[in-house]
């Protein structure tokens, strides 16, 4: 029997710093909710709005898989591994922090707000060599399809991370129905609605709602509106 947990958009943590308007699906920074610590190895799902030219100065990370998906605008990234890049909407960035890395992240545009999802997963191996990658997403392949954008393997579609996790992103026409098969036994799926309204395993979800499902090998999906866009995060439920 599958189990689920529903996180409605308006129950997320919220922090308004002026230049940064952040919503946290799980406990982060000063938002602490013991009921919202993680979904399996998924520890952070931040939905950040960052004013033009603003951002996070150089700061360190370790032992975390950090995935950034700009939804609107572009982010300028610099890190201690020598990477300097701009990641735009339609791209994905991944950083394995491992033994330690410092980076800065700023809105690359002075006159346009940046909206990004930043997602942190516990790694399945500690103290790996830090690594950076970014890729363009195949937007056409996402039409009425959960297109894989992240996996544990460098030889598979999308970026890869140090964890048995798979992310898929899709944009759907109204009425489109499909089934998603979980990639690995023991994994659960956290679905995050970027836009539109959808029904997953009988639960109706609106923009920015999250639904975690586990103890199952597949989930049913239906798009209820024409602009439905959903990110699926297929992650181990057991912490390593």
């Amino acid at each position: 029997m599958s189990q689920f947990i529903l996180h409605k958009e308006n129950t997320r943590g919220h922090a308004d710093h002026g230049w940064l308007n952040a919503h946290h699906s799980f406990s982060f920074a000063n938002y602490y909710n013991p009921e919202r610590m993680h979904f399996g190895v998924l520890r952070v799902l931040n939905d950040d709005l960052i004013d033009g030219g603003m951002g996070f100065g150089t700061h360190p990370h370790d032992n975390m898989e950090i995935i950034t998906i700009p939804l609107a605008g572009a982010i300028a990234h610099k890190d201690s591994m020598g990477n300097s890049a701009v990641i735009k909407s339609g791209e994905i960035q991944v950083m394995s922090a491992g033994t330690g890395v410092s980076h800065s992240e700023f809105n690359a545009l002075a006159d346009k707000q940046l909206n990004l999802l930043q997602i942190w997963l516990f790694p399945n191996k500690k103290n790996v060599t830090p690594r950076y990658d970014q890729q363009s997403l195949d937007v056409e392949a996402m039409h009425n399809n959960f297109q894989q954008i992240l996996s544990p393997s460098a030889d598979d579609a999308g970026v890869w991370i140090q964890q048995d996790a798979w992310f898929s992103l899709g944009k759907f026409d109204e009425g489109f129905e499909t089934e998603y098969k979980i990639k690995k036994a023991g994994n659960g799926v956290y679905a995050f609605v970027i836009s539109g309204e959808v029904t997953i395993n009988g639960q109706t979800l609106s923009k920015r709602d999250g639904l975690g499902i586990w103890d199952t090998d597949s989930i049913s999906f239906k798009a209820n509106t024409a602009d439905a866009e959903v990110l699926l995060m297929d992650v181990p439920m057991e912490l390593n």
Partner: protein, 98 residues
């Protein structure tokens, strides 16, 4: 009453950040070191409420550290700190102290 938190890591930059973050809150007293012998010496000298294990500590070192610390303070909580002085710190500590 202050909660005394000992952070043990390997990266000096992260350790500096951890020291700043932990001591920024009046309810916490942070002691941050990169050296295991120094960490054990601190545990011998004062009561610690929570130990955070940071990056770069390998499995063997972790086992030894836990063994030595728990021999001195059997009731102290020892947890892994992930992220390196990041947004997870407050939640990790609150969860451990709850």
């Amino acid at each position: 009453m202050q909660t005394t938190i000992l952070y043990i890591g390997r990266d000096t930059e992260i350790t500096t950040v951890m020291n700043r973050l932990l001591n920024a809150r009046p309810e916490w007293k942070g002691i941050c070191v990169c050296n295991d012998e120094e960490a054990i010496a601190i545990c011998q000298q004062q009561k610690i409420d929570l130990v955070l294990l940071g990056n770069g500590i390998n499995h063997e070192e972790e086992v030894q550290l836990k063994g030595k610390i728990l021999a001195l303070m059997p009731n102290v909580k020892i947890i892994q700190h992930y992220g390196g002085g990041s947004g997870l710190l407050y939640g990790e500590i609150m969860m451990a102290l709850d």
